[in-house]
Subunit: 291 residues, 2 copies
């Protein structure tokens, strides 16, 4: 009962000596991080093998199928966790809580925090740069950046594939999977640490303070710059490579910072009750700090 | 350990006699359909109570939270099922197979086929009309319409909420949930019965036969008509209330039918090998029937 070709078969295709298998020491180190001992040790290697590792590409020898399985079981277990912990919360916030704990950034942070990225088997030099740059950036946000960072998907993938491997190896023991994940992902994001996306926050703030907000993106501009207009006035802008969503989130965050600064200065004197209240909420949400 | 207020408490708010609880006969009939006996019978009533049933709305007394839980466990179990059944299939088709078995139409069909819709508790007359019209329409497609129908979400919801109720009631016994769902949803959609969405099929067909295809929607036209242009020529169009996606699927299907008819007539004489091959594939996909 293995989800892939047996190791002997897989290795027959690789020139001898060129693609060494994962060492027993590495397997043991990964098992120690997970707190789980695999019956089928070859699953550890498979769960950490990226598509770029073999040339030509060998679809049966990458973590992709295990990642798919891991994603499924994590969705279920996080649904159950928030369902149990928040007995009266409606489905909307339950879904946001579940998503926050199994999204790309949260799982990428888990991979880094537990050192799992050191065992990734790949042959894509660009990946390494992306990982280093994410490690540097993620330190700025203790819990989650809420859409301001662009975490390398591969980091999330290997957490999901290891979880999928445990689900398979343990003969689908969801309690064992949960025990491992609960420890790996500690602390889970709860209602009190769940941040808001800056775009949502900006819209809510502007609605509360009766301001009109508009995001503008010049489709002809190759840099994909996103601008934020508030009451028709340019307040902030951001660019981020080819990813419009991240540029938009960063522009919204910059606009919130600016609003906060400008309004904060006049709050005690002339700001309306609406503005004061909206500013207080921004503080509570923890996304903005008083200057 | 119940996910909602106990029945006595819930009923205190309802005028006596006006909102009768689900009868013991109905509960037993539903248990018989599911092949599962609930420890907490009040979950059956909860899983079948739509938001419209109580006025004013009582968020703790609707199936919404159970539906959320059921969705999570079904995602996991269908992932596992296709992962086990298709040992070498890549994640893309695995995801399509999973989605096909837990999507709104598949689960709505399950609700109708098993007669679960008869137990739905709601006060929204429009829902009843939508259900009747879906029952009539679904008969035209023995397995799945692949985007041509607009199934009432409430039908899918009650299957998910009953599954969530079993997951909770059985103290999270995924094997018990799977046993129930496997029987309820029989036959599951497999690779051999997995249809293609007409839009995908039309794009693939046109690519293979070197035709340019374009969907056009007049944003000023309130009827939301979608037109299909092939090599710049209007071939088909469709409208569907306010749902553009369904109009687009139906327009694509109409265009495929027309292409099939036109090309089929000349196939044996003058059509190129590309066209013959593409036509054969359309037959295999089972979406179109020879005229």
């Amino acid at each position: 009962m293995t989800p892939h070709m047996p190791r002997e078969h897989r290795q027959r295709h690789a020139p001898p000596g060129e693609v060494p298998p994962m060492s027993a020491e590495d397997v043991a180190a990964i098992e120690a991080v997970l707190g789980y001992e695999f019956a089928d040790k070859s699953l550890v290697e498979l769960a950490l093998t990226h598509g770029s590792f073999y040339f030509p590409y060998r679809p049966g020898d990458t973590y992709e199928r295990l990642e798919y399985l891991g994603d499924g079981v994590l969705t279920c277990l996080m649904s159950r966790e928030v369902f149990r912990n928040y007995r009266t919360l409606p489905p909307g916030p339950l879904t946001r809580l579940r998503a926050a704990n199994v999204d790309t950034e949260k799982l990428a942070r888990v991979a880094i925090d537990r050192g799992l990225h050191r065992f990734l088997r790949h042959k894509a030099p660009k990946l390494q740069d992306q990982i280093y740059s994410f490690i540097e950036e993620m330190r700025k946000y203790p819990v989650h950046s809420n859409g301001l960072l662009d975490p390398p998907k591969v980091l999330c993938d290997i957490v999901e594939s290891l979880i999928g491997a445990i689900y398979w190896d343990s003969n689908f023991d969801q309690e064992e999977v949960w025990r491992v994940f609960r420890t790996l992902a500690d602390p889970l994001i709860g209602l009190e640490t769940l941040g808001k996306h800056p775009v949502t926050e900006l819209f809510e703030f502007c609605q509360k303070t009766h301001r009109g907000v508009k995001f503008v993106k010049d489709e002809w501009d190759k840099s994909l710059k996103v601008e934020v207009l508030i009451d028709g006035e340019l307040v902030a802008s951001a660019t981020y490579g080819q990813k419009k969503e991240i540029a938009q989130n960063r522009a919204a965050k910059a606009a919130l910072d600016k609003l906060k600064e400008t309004l904060g200065q006049t709050q005690s004197e002339s700001a309306s009750a609406d503005v004061s209240e909206a500013l207080d909420e921004l503080d509570i949400a923890g996304t903005l700090k008083c200057q």
